[in-house]
Symmetry: C2
Subunit: 415 residues, 2 copies
Amino acid sequence: MRASCSTIFFLPSFVSTPKPQHPLFTVICVKSNIDYHTHTHTHTFFTTYLIPTGWSWRIKRKYMEGDAGRDLGCQKTMDGKANEDIPSCCLKARAFAPDPELQANCHATVVSGWFSESRSSSDDVAKRMYFNNPMWPGEAHSLAVEKILFKEKSEYQEVLVFESTTYGKVLVLDGILQLSEKDECAYQEMIAHLPLCSIKSPKNVLVVGGGDGGVLREISRHSSVELIDICEIDKMVIDVSKKFFPELAVGFEDSRVHLHVGDAVEFIRNVPEGKYDAIIVDSSDPVGPAQELVEQPFFEMLARALRPGGVLCNMAESMWLHTHLIQDMISVCQKIFKGSVHYAWTSVPTYPSGVIGFILCSTEGPPVDFRNPVNPIEKLEGALDHQRELKFYNSQMHKAAFALPPFVRKEVKCL
Amino acid sequence: MRASCSTIFFLPSFVSTPKPQHPLFTVICVKSNIDYHTHTHTHTFFTTYLIPTGWSWRIKRKYMEGDAGRDLGCQKTMDGKANEDIPSCCLKARAFAPDPELQANCHATVVSGWFSESRSSSDDVAKRMYFNNPMWPGEAHSLAVEKILFKEKSEYQEVLVFESTTYGKVLVLDGILQLSEKDECAYQEMIAHLPLCSIKSPKNVLVVGGGDGGVLREISRHSSVELIDICEIDKMVIDVSKKFFPELAVGFEDSRVHLHVGDAVEFIRNVPEGKYDAIIVDSSDPVGPAQELVEQPFFEMLARALRPGGVLCNMAESMWLHTHLIQDMISVCQKIFKGSVHYAWTSVPTYPSGVIGFILCSTEGPPVDFRNPVNPIEKLEGALDHQRELKFYNSQMHKAAFALPPFVRKEVKCL
């Protein structure tokens, strides 16, 4: 899963709903130019998300020290044609609602389409209903919807589950596809085992986000692990996963798992220094001006919570679409993580461009060679079949994930 | 590029046009059950392609020895619900035209859609026109079309070129996306260098299909190569590439290239035994009952044209969608290629499921270790920048391409 942790801002949700509400943020929607390079101060996060031409949202984190509860108020920027200075890969919101006609036909969750048919407004989905993943500018990936199984607004986001024709059940948060049963194995197994197989005998692990439980399922293959903290803000995601995705939610059944429903930033702030051997951030997209995710303070907190030589694995977008964001994240991480910083990627068909990347970092201390797993999963007793057989990850795939095409090394200069 | 060689049958074209015409095939369209496991004899190829419920096409190769010109005639099979015994991944045609309403709105090439708007029938494309890649059952990948640049029927297929919003120019043959400027590097570089970097000093190379020239561009990086034969059946593809895809068609400018416009089966039959060091089959999809491509005779001809220890690289679909086809191809290849047989894959965002696979085979003779390139591109003088810089391939990516997830090894048992 890629979202549902407040530290990660749910930016897509602000796009998909015209007047977003969030207990942790104030969001002001103004008609304006897109203002891409403003908006970050160390403890006061303003951000402007990409929006239909002539409109913007301004988002303020409420809970950061020193300015809790203070609203930003409406802040006008210039009118005019937007996206001049914005990397085109950041325009994903524009695929969502560039004009009223499109807006009318592109609901945040299930979109009819393709077939020029009028839609019923009921929840009874017509047989040719398609879900469009509006994550890529100028393109979309559509899945045929057999049946909508669940659709409700939580305190934080719209949660949708549908049965697809060929990808099994699908979880969608605020219109963004999070996982499908067919290919979740690739994401969950890689994000968990890339860090955990890179250190010997991990004991204490923290998961940020990951409310579906899939990452927990994978971590629990490691018998050395004694504690798995998970901090997920949205209880509805957990409940929905338990109901509709038992193969993922099985992760919660492990007695080593300690669930904390709440904000991860608050949680990490109160964690004793050096508590964890590994932290896995199962987050949403740091796309566009979601610069908080690539801000030093967030990564500093994570690094502080890790032991010397501890490891972080952070979802880090697609090498085909977002090399400038990867560059931003890597260069911040290189400042903070003095052990090592690497980028890895793998294939996930239902994600934009069919790939997803990970940043792997280690803190100063015993050296970590991410490219050559010192804790190979094949040698861990019972790991291959614990709860469910491993489908995607093995040591070969681990090593292969760090191979990068020349264009990535060229565009992400700090790699 | 993935199609445009007659040996490869253009199966998608038969699906996208109700009454397909082809100089080399007879295709009979009958309302019938889908008849998946019939249709191949050594020299008389019948095939049934997957079709809307209750309909099928029967295709006969006309040009094979012993039955040139003989038509099959209408052949009725049972009526009824189709696809009972068909692997669901083979149902891609069903995404195309399951009913008349869909058929009306899903033209073989550019499909409006998504936005429930009526289409102009002129070639003047509305700004929100999208191209749908109808390759996956129950899903589709749509690209926003800025402008249609070319659209004409060749002797063999409909050739379409459009400018996309975010993937550069796109080539579409009979409704199936062949390449986009943004990600063609991944396909062309891998299909060329996986075989050529696995043997020392390749001299004679044959390309089957590949009329866009991209594979030629890549082969020409190898200064050891003295002869590059290319056999492409459709001259229009070559002409269109020269006009719209100069970065690919540059491949034709190399003096080592000898172009043969014609049928590759005929061509290969007349090739002296053992002529080539490497053959690259840049083909369309062997999906569904396109079993000719996974038939022994075709591979036997290729093997005969290779020297001892020569190598074949054949496009081989997606590990996420078509493991049973990969299994078929691999097991046939293992019978014929007594050197080695391997499967590799890479990321190509615009292809179904975001990946494409390759079968790498070597004939009996000097052993070939595909996984460890003996002819690394980094050590070939001038190779990295010849005509255009390498964007995707390097020796790391080469080795990584052979890493396979456990689910692939489980489903493709002969690997």
